[in-house]
Each structure stands twice: as C-alpha cells, then as structure tokens.
Symmetry: C2
Subunit: 354 residues, 2 copies
C-alpha cells in the first residue's frame, strides 16, 4: 500500500512537471459519418449536397453531432485544442453540449466517462482529464453537437505515446443510422456524450450515425439517399417532431422506399412523436402531437399491409418517463430524457442488429 | 367529443386574441428563505451579514437558488418579466438554469412541470405555458439558481384572475434546510426546478430552504446561525465538496453545535463527498475525496459517541448511480444526477420529518 501511494505520488509529480504536446486529430479514426465525401473532415453531409439541400439543412449538416474520434494513449492527461465554425449559443443548452468535447475511456469492455472539454468560444483549449496513472488506454472523444468542429488536436504528455486504437470498438461494421430532429441532434444534452445516439453507441459498442437536423427533419428526399448509402444494421426514423402532417402524407412513404429499395431486409424503426411534457397543459400542442401520431400510425399500417416484414413502430408512450421532468423546455431532452430514451431504444436495437 | 373539441378550439381562439397583463410578484408568497430580513426580496442571507460574511459568500447569498413563488390563476397562459442582478454565464450550465424561471402546476396533489422561462439576458420576458383550458390552477414558480432575481412580474390573460394560493402546499411549517456547495445551489441543473432541493420540495410537498453557496461551503459559522434561526424539520449538511480537511477539523463540530444548541432533537444529516465520476481516472481527486470522507466519518463518530441520537450519515456510494453519467464535468450534477440524488434523499428525509 505504501509503495503504491509512493508510486502514485511520483507519477503525479511527474505529470505536474510534464509538458503537453498536441497532435493533429486527422491521423485518427473518426466514427459517425455516413460518408467520407464531405467538404471538411468534421461534418456530416456529402459535399454533393452543398448546392442541392435547403440552406438550413446543409448548414446543420456541418455540425459535428455524433462524430467521435478514437485513439490510444498512455498519457497521464488528455487535453484538446479545437475550433468551431459558428461559436453558437442557445439559452436552453450548455456551451459544453453545444460546442464542447466529451471524453470516454474503455474499461473492461465498457466506455466510461473520463472528462468533458468545456469551451471558451470559437477557439478552445481544455484539459479533459489529468493526474492519471500512465497506463495505455483506449479513448473515444465525442465532438460538439450544435456547432461544427473545424480543427482538432489532442494533447498528451510530451513523453507519452498517442497512437491508433488497438481494438475496433465501437464496432464500425454495419452501423446504426438515425434520422431526425433537434432532439436527435442532441438538444439539449449537457455534454456531447449524452445525446442518445452516443449513449447507444457506447452501450451497443456499435458505431451510430446521427443524421439529426434541428428543426429540419422535413423528409427531404436527398437525405433518404444519404441514409440508403450506408450499409446499416438498422435505420431509426425519428422525424415526427419536425415534419408536418402534410409533409408526412406527401413524402414519408417515398422517403422510406428510397431507403428500403437499397436495403430490402434491414430493420427500419418508425418512432412516434414524444408526448411532450408541456402538452399536458398546452392543448394546441397536444392536438398537433395526436394528429401527427395518427398520421404516422396510418402510414406504418399501410406499409405493413404492403407486406414489409422488417418495419417496426415505437410508441412514444414511455420514452421519456411519465413524471414530466425529462426536458428543459417541454420539448428538448435533458440528460435525464436522453438516458430514458436510450434505455427504451437499447433492447429494441440490440434485438434487431446483426 | 365533438363538443369538447369545439370548446377547446374556441378557447384557443380566445387566448390567441387576449392580451397579457403583468402583476408584480411581491404580492404573492415566496418559499425558500431562511429569513425575511433580507436587503431585497429575492435573496437568501440576512441583511445583518452584509458586512460580516466573506464577500464571495455574501454575493452568492444574493442568488435566488431555491426560492419559489406561489400563486393561483385561471389564465390560459402564464408569462413572466424578470430582471437578474449579474447576467451570469457559465459554460457548463444552461442559461435557463442559471438565470431562467421554471413553472409547476398542482394536479391531483402533485406538482407537474408546466414550462420553463428561457432568459434573454439581464432583462427577460417569456411565456412559460400557453393554450391552456382556462381552469383555476395552483402554480409554483422557481427562480434562477445562479443569478439573483431583482424584479419579477407574472403575466396572465388580461381578463383572467391571479390571486393568493388556495392551499398551503408545499407545506411551509417546519421546512427542510440544506447547507452546501455549488452542487447544492443547483449546479448544473438544466432549469431551476431540477435542483434536488426543488425536486424534494415537490415530492415531500414541504418547503425546502437552499443554502448552497458555490465554492463557498467553508463552514462559516455565521451561516450555522442562519440555519439555526429556522424552525426546521431536518437539517442536511452537504459541505464536503468545498470544505478542506483542515476546515472540517477546525469548524465542523462547532458549526454543528451552533445548530444543535437551538434544535436539540431535530434530525441532522451529514452527507459524504460524492464519488465524482472523473475520480476513476484522476488519482489526485480520488485521494482528496477519500481523505475528506475519512475525516467526516471520524467527526460523525465522535459526535455520536458524545451521545447525540438524532444525527445521521449518508454514504455517497450510491447517490448518483454507478455509470459515471450523472455529471456535466465530473463534478457538477446534471438533471440525471439531481434526480438520482433526490431519489436517495427522499426516503431518508420523509422518514425523519414531522
């Protein structure tokens, strides 16, 4: 025990005196992209859509929601320098969630939170974890949810190593692909790792791709093509909070069939509109939710009748609990809401993916 | 059903056309203060401490953490205008939690989230809920956690009523009094209602008093006098994340005995330092937490040996779960952390309060 304390003391002294050396992150694997054909590395939509997609949709595609860097290091601390595109702010989400970073470490096969990168503004520098015993570890670093990372460097002790991951976890073959709204994009997780697609990526130990576009999950058909381009294990269609009843009637089947055409047997899950907590009181919202959910149920039943066996439907009844406490504003999920949603989705996805 | 829809439609049309009229909140009961002898209404420390307490402690006492307004209205919408003292920002907490408002409504004896007031800056205006059926309801409005509300007006439909509560809920007799740190003050709840003292106030339906002072729960003895001035049902002493081992050795027994002298039989609960998620990796923090928890355990045992029967000790082992996901930065609780902490504290407090 005394020896162990002495060693820990020695290591802490060493780390206090060591310098941090930054390494460009472009050398390390990046999870969470539907395609590599993007304008810059840390964005989500193919460059071919730059002049095709509606501008707000295209701009949101440049946010780095769901993207995650993998590396391995024996450093006693992990730091980062990063720059963001818009220096975005919102009054119902933390800057750490909007434009920060979030570090996880693999321990006994599970991803464990190690520290978050709290941002200062457009250019940022943060030590996410320090005072560690210098053992080799596998890291997973989640990027900003509501802004776009334009450059990223990882800092480690100057005398330590940083290198390629030694294991392919989360597994990159056959990712799970999500399409949806601001909630899907991670609004309003306190830090990037708490968006439910990122929670599920860790729990499933399978790459997840977040195609969430705040306010803009309007069933744009070119996004269906992006989904269809991925050799996915499952597709989750979670667009109801944005798409209107008219848009659904006009495009939901078409959107679906673009994906289905390329993936005849892949499970596709439709998700109902959440019963937003404020709709207990706001009768207008309650009516809208009811109308949307009736519409998606009818569309689902119609597809089912056409003989599709690999489509599923998630009722929103239980997805964020029944206490009304899972959102920041009646709509956008907090970490509590995302945790509950992940707990509902996990067994459903686990059961269907191969 | 058709009639009901017609009525709802009519009411929505009415509310869309009605004007909002603002009423100064000073006419309505305010919960969460240890004393009414404060410089201005929406702050927590007695004015007598203005030139006695350390300046950072005094300044934090002017934050409105745990304060909540009670009123009754039949309006179809509830809005607010409010101004804050510092226009505070932090990168790991939402502006809504820092300087926003949070509205709950009593339904079947339970407090249910109705909507949050998202801030714009120093002066703010927000509609927290709208499109309601115009029934008389009891409301509880939580004030900003990390800033001080300096003025507050409640907006209702111009032709509706706003008046004194019809029921004394949460019960104001014998409140529960909490002393502690930034975490206790509500860092980093997404909205004011999710600080654990506010969650517990709703679950217990008993007034709770939040004497949390970010970074400044250093066992200042005049704060023990503030606690002792309250005819409390229980005291929760939750200062470990701030107080050093030296401060605890020097002042914890003295702090305790000031409270105990005036309340010989009131339950007093000591809370251990949380096992912060980042301390899995940060060995320096892990050692500090261990040392502090050993110190408080020794102090508790010593008090116990002196014959006190009404003191209790909460191990931090389970308070925020074991998945490492309950904080935004390894230290400060998110809504997920506060919910878990409230779930642990609730039965303990419920059992002891009269």
């Amino acid at each position: 025990m005394r020896t162990r304390l002495f060693i820990v003391g020695l290591l802490l002294t060493m780390s206090a005196n060591s310098q941090i050396l930054y390494h460009d992150a472009s050398a390390f694997p990046l999870l969470g992209k539907a395609t590599d054909a993007t304008l810059t590395r840390y964005e989500r939509l193919p460059d071919s859509l730059e002049h095709i997609s509606r501008k707000p949709l295209w701009d949101l595609g440049r946010n780095s929601a769901g993207l995650a860097l993998r590396f391995r290091s024996n450093s006693t601390c992990i730091a980062a320098k990063w720059e963001v595109r818009n220096n975005m702010s919102m009054n119902h989400m933390t800057p750490t969630g909007i434009k920060g970073l979030d570090l996880y470490c693999l321990q006994d096969g599970k991803w464990v939170f190690a520290g978050s990168g709290r941002p200062q503004g457009k250019t940022n520098e943060a030590t996410m974890v320090k005072n560690m015993v210098p053992e080799e570890r596998e890291y997973l670093l989640y990027l900003s949810l509501y802004d776009g990372v334009t450059s990223l460097a990882i800092g480690v002790d100057s005398l330590s190593m940083i290198e390629q991951p030694a294991v392919d976890l989360p597994v990159r073959k056959k990712p799970v692909v999500f399409y949806g709204t601001s909630i899907l994009q991670g609004g309003c997780a306190s830090r990037p790792g708490m968006a439910h697609t990122n929670i599920l990526e860790r729990w499933l130990n399978r790459e997840c791709i977040n195609l969430g576009f705040s306010g803009n999950a309007l069933l744009d058909l070119e996004i269906a093509e992006v989904l269809a381009s991925v050799d996915a294990s499952m597709f989750i269609l979670d667009f109801l909070p944005n798409a209107t009843v008219e848009q659904m009637k006009e495009r939901a089947e078409k959107f679906y069939s673009i994906v289905r055409a390329k993936h005849p047997d892949t499970p596709i899950l439709f998700v109902e509109d959440p019963i937003f907590p404020h709709s207990r009181f706001d009768k207008k919202v309650a009516q809208e939710v009811k109308h949307k959910n009736e519409t998606i149920a009818a569309i689902f039943q119609s597809l089912k009748k056409q003989g599709d066996k690999n489509i599923y439907f998630l009722s929103s009844k239980d997805i964020i609990g029944h206490d009304g406490e899972a959102t920041v504003d009646g709509v956008h999920f907090t970490d509590l809401g995302f945790m509950r949603y992940a707990e509902i989705l996990y067994p459903l996805i686990k059961k269907h993916i191969r």
